[in-house]
């Protein structure tokens, strides 16, 4: 039943300060970000299964549907709109080249996972890549194009060399 407690929070989203925003305590981070206009965060299941809503919280990928907005108070959030490093631009080019998205609904979450793979700064086998993206549902591609794109990205960014 209704719990309309409200809390005032501040956080940095994509390097911009968002201060003193009053939210319902029960609101999850995904809804909060979408309400602010960060529509690239997609909600697929709201139970932490599908990974479409992944965002970075202090640099780690997190299911934004499983975290309350108030828990992100004082933290640094990156949504897909903020994934603009030169490395991530290479990743995006590799995704486009391999058609590693069809409908695009899973893509922002998939990019967050890929960000972590790239950040770990080493190479992986295809099987390892498959395992690492197994927290993200994709219903369109059958995954192979995404594995290709991640593999391509790692080769282009020269991680672990």
């Amino acid at each position: 039943m209704s719990n309309l407690n409200k809390t005032t929070i501040s956080m940095i989203i994509n390097n911009e300060n968002y201060d003193d925003i009053t939210v319902e305590t029960r609101q999850h981070l995904g809804d909060f970000l979408r309400d602010l206009g960060f529509k690239g965060t997609h909600l697929g299941c709201e139970q932490g299964a599908c990974g479409a809503c992944n965002v970075l919280v202090d640099g780690e990928s997190v299911r934004s549907c499983l975290m309350l907005a108030v828990q992100a108070n004082g933290k640094k959030i990156t949504t897909v709109e903020g994934l603009n490093s030169s490395e991530m631009e290479i990743v995006k080019d590799c995704f486009v080249k391999n058609n590693a998205m069809q409908c695009g609904f899973c893509s922002s979450g998939m990019l967050m996972t890929t960000y972590e793979i790239v950040k770990s700064n080493r190479k992986y086998s295809r099987e390892e890549i498959r395992e690492m993206i197994s927290g993200n549902y994709c219903r369109c591609t059958g995954y192979q194009a995404i594995v290709d794109a991640v593999e391509d990205s790692l080769n282009k960014i020269n991680v672990g060399v």
Binding site: K39, Q47, G48, C103, G104, Y137, R139, Y143
Partner: protein, 795 residues
């Protein structure tokens, strides 16, 4: 215009702007990737209210009373409606069509009236200023139910003692059909061997990652209803919404922006979506409904749910003499509007044994009601069942005769030089290539190596199996699919193309985009045919106010039908451009061509850019001689005539490892050879095949809507309902044979569903091949570890 002279060979990448046949990256891909797609839930309108549905917790119950007063008083709630309010603005419907014999499905109301018939059926709707508030208030709607017996099991649906779900029907039968070609019983008597098998296919569903969503915006000043809908068939929705809300069809506008996957799930009429439109009309304000994931599982259409008995008779040389099937399917309490829930079974009857020469064929289909979620068409409608039963029987017959499975198929496949011909059920076939595909597949798979690998593995206690299957896929349907039966579903599609003052080319198409790459494919066809760079071409789709009339994207029809319309319109526009250019350039038309956004002289010399030409036409028309036909817009339509469907064919195979201790199946490799005619964008075709195969693997190994004995869906969430994840999936090797469809200039057939249609049979046969040394087989999908262990007698 001389076609040979002006229209270059399709798919020949030997000239500028020859885009047909090239894997051009999708222009929109980056926007989608970066989260810049515009999905229905992203839409915000002033004064927009949000809906939450109160749904039946029972599979079958009488509604004794509904009390909405407390919910209405909840702060933030705008109103609460039941069927008493909604039926004043929205009429009920019936999911029956006239072309397939008698269908008996009762009237379905947009909200439950008196009786609920599946767990999840909408009963009341709460409208509030926020979705969360609407959900809070939903809990305050008090409904008193009287529980009724639920009719769940399709196998007992027709028993005399079984509860009849609809009082006005004498039993639970929705539809039945038989097909009888030749004399099956005589042919079985003459057969050297007769093999039988019964296969079960569980209910599963499509699990689009973006759930169903709709925003309805009634503008009372214009009397206009604008609906943002993540669907596949905007003009169908326009017609249906106008009809049931008593609106002028021309004043209903359907806009389908980016769609987060559809797979046939989003091509049906859903009660909660019709109610959303009705609420907008009642409240005279925009309203939004987005299904949450739990609602998706219990209200998105389910599919499959078949039990099929199959029988094959073969002579001593391995020639198939007879084939018989008896299929039973359960569809929930209503046939789904407007496509009906008969089509999956109809496809099973039409498509079983469809790759083979079978002189005697008999098929019976029975479709019954149940108190479960309504069942309807999902990707590869009927194909997984038809292919699996056919290929299971073919393997059984080959094994019984101790014949190589490939050799057995080779002598029974419909020969490539025998078209046009018919399926054993009597459906016309043309332009297919089973022999070429299986030859290519055999080479790709390297079957002799696989046999060796199997033997060596067995010596090490590992059970490996592989399969080869053949199939046809229904694509590019004619009016015979739905229109002939009375559904407002266009089999024709249109394209309009214009050259603008900037030199840009703009297409509008009635085909929609759900991620397949419709936009890219239409751009490629237009740029190729006009002779412009691909980034010159813009595409508008998914808006009934802005596109030609047409069917939309389903049944693997977008490229083959909508693409042909774009091709024809592009050729007309090019003809107009060249005629105008001939006047401006003082040249014979036949000496001119368009390349790289310019009209060129074939013998060299002066050129004129399309931009300059367009600006003369639009801004300085006085420079043209009076009476010049200066139209820089052209429109064309296309539909399939003369045959019901344009079939494609494929051969597929896979290699599996079955762990006999855990029952787990690991797919080591999957191969597919597909013949979809002209490939406009080979990469996109391959990705359709791969994505389709993986959805087929889901049905074969993991996916099932599990109900308890009360009719409760027990795993309707993403954690408990398993879909394929990256780790379990193999790399899928795809190759092609190209036999163009003779029904169009483009020659393209569809490619969207073959993977889903073929994979379940390929997986099952491979597992059963692995189990041969253990003298057992599996016959029930999904083939879970538990079922494998049961087959092995271990549990």
């Amino acid at each position: 215009m001389d076609d040979l002279n002006q229209n270059p060979k399709l798919g020949a990448a030997d000239r500028p702007n020859s885009y047909i046949g090239r894997s051009v990256p999708r222009e929109r891909a980056k926007k989608l990737l970066e989260g810049k797609g515009k999905y229905v839930d992203d839409i915000l309108l002033p004064r927009m209210a949000h809906l939450s549905y109160v749904r039946s917790p029972f599979a079958h119950a009488k509604i004794k009373s509904i009390n909405i007063e407390n919910a209405k008083k909840y702060p933030g709630v705008l109103n609460v409606f039941t069927i008493d309010d909604i039926e004043k603005v929205c009429t009920p419907w019936q999911g029956v069509l006239g072309h397939l014999g008698e269908m008996r499905s009762p009237t379905q109301y947009p909200l439950a009236k008196d009786i609920v018939r599946w767990q999840g059926e909408p009963v009341a709707v709460v409208v509030a200023n926020k979705r969360a508030v609407a959900e809070d208030a939903s809990e305050l709607v008090e409904i008193d139910y009287e529980d009724l017996d639920a009719q769940l099991d399709m196998e007992t649906a027709m028993d005399k003692s079984t509860k009849v779900i609809h009082d006005d029907l004498e039993n639970n039968l929705f539809w039945t059909r038989t097909v009888n070609q030749g004399n099956v019983s005589e042919a079985f008597k003459q057969s050297h061997i007769v093999e039988e098998v019964t296969l079960d296919f569980a209910r599963h569903t499509g699990v689009t990652l973006e759930t169903r969503a709709i925003v309805a915006d009634w503008d009372s000043s214009e009397e206009k209803m604008t609906v943002y809908h993540n669907g596949q068939a905007p003009h169908m929705m326009q017609s249906i919404i106008a009809k049931h809300l008593n609106l002028s069809e021309g004043l209903v506008r359907i806009i389908s922006c980016d769609v987060g996957g559809s797979f046939g799930i989003k091509v049906h009429v859903y009660p909660d979506e019709m109610v959303t439109v009705a609420v907008s009309k009642l409240l005279k304000r925009p309203v939004k409904f987005v299904a949450d994931r739990l609602e998706s599982y219990s209200t998105d259409i389910h599919s499959r749910c078949h039990k099929i008995l199959g029988k094959i008779g073969v002579d001593d040389k391995g020639k198939i003499l007879a084939f018989e099937i008896d299929d039973l399917s359960g569809i929930g309490p209503f046939s789904v509007y407007p496509r009906t829930s008969a089509i999956e079974t109809n496809q099973v009857l039409n498509l079983s044994a469809a790759s083979y020469v079978v002189p005697n064929y008999k098929a019976k289909g029975t479709v019954v009601f149940q108190n479960k979620t309504p069942m309807c068409q999902y990707r590869a409608v009927g194909h997984p069942i038809a292919v699996a039963i056919t290929e299971a029987l073919v393997d059984k017959a080959a094994n019984a005769l101790d014949m190589d499975r490939y050799e057995f198929r080779k002598i029974n496949l419909i020969p490539d030089n025998s078209y046009p011909t018919k399926t054993p059920s009597g459906v016309p076939l043309e332009d297919l290539s089973h022999e070429a595909c299986i030859e290519k597949l055999k080479k790709m798979m390297n079957i002799s190596e696989l046999e060796k690998y199997k033997k060596e593995s067995l010596a090490n206690g590992k059970y490996k199996g592989f399969s080869i299957i053949n199939m046809v896929e229904v694509t590019n349907p004619s009016p015979a699919f739905y229109g002939v039966g009375g559904a407002p579903i266009s089999s024709q599609d249109g394209a309009s193309i214009r050259l603008e003052g900037s030199g840009a080319v703009h297409i509008s198409t009635s085909i929609t985009e759900q991620g397949q790459g419709t936009e890219a494919v239409m751009q490629q066809i237009a740029a190729d045919q006009l002779g412009v760079k691909i980034d010159t071409v813009r595409v508008t789709h998914g808006d009934t106010d802005a596109t030609p009339y047409g069917g939309g994207t389903w049944a693997s029809r977008g490229a083959g039908i909508g693409g042909e319309a774009v091709l024809k319109a592009s050729r007309k526009l090019k003809e107009n451009i060249l005629n105008i250019a001939a006047v401006i350039m003082q040249s014979e038309v036949n000496n001119l061509d368009v390349q790289n956004d310019q009209v060129i002289r074939k013998d060299g010399g002066e050129v004129i850019s399309l931009k300059d030409l367009a600006q003369i036409v639009y801004y300085r028309g006085h420079e043209l001689p009076p009476g010049t036909n200066a139209e820089l817009i052209a429109t064309a339509s296309f539909s399939i005539e003369g045959i019901p469907f344009v079939f494609t064919n494929s051969a597929m195979g896979c290699l599996v490892d079955v762990d006999v201790d855990t029952g787990l199946t690991k797919i080591e490799k999957f191969w597919a050879v597909e013949d979809c005619g002209t490939q406009i964008n080979p990469k996109l075709v391959e990705e359709q095949i791969r994505g389709g195969v993986v959805q087929g693997i889901g049905g074969a190994l993991y996916e099932e809507c599990i109900y308890d004995e009360m009719g409760n869906l027990t795993n309707g969430n993403m954690a408990d309902y398993l879909v394929p994840m990256a780790y379990e999936m193999p790399d899928i090797i795809v190759d092609h044979v190209t036999t163009n469809s003779g029904r169009s200039i483009l020659g393209a057939k569809g490619a969207g569903e073959a993977g889903t249609g073929g994979a379940p049979g390929a997986i099952m046969n491979a597992i059963n091949d692995a189990l041969i040394p253990l003298n057992t087989q599996v016959t029930s999908q999904p083939i879970t570890p538990e079922k494998v262990l049961k087959a092995l007698g271990k549990i």
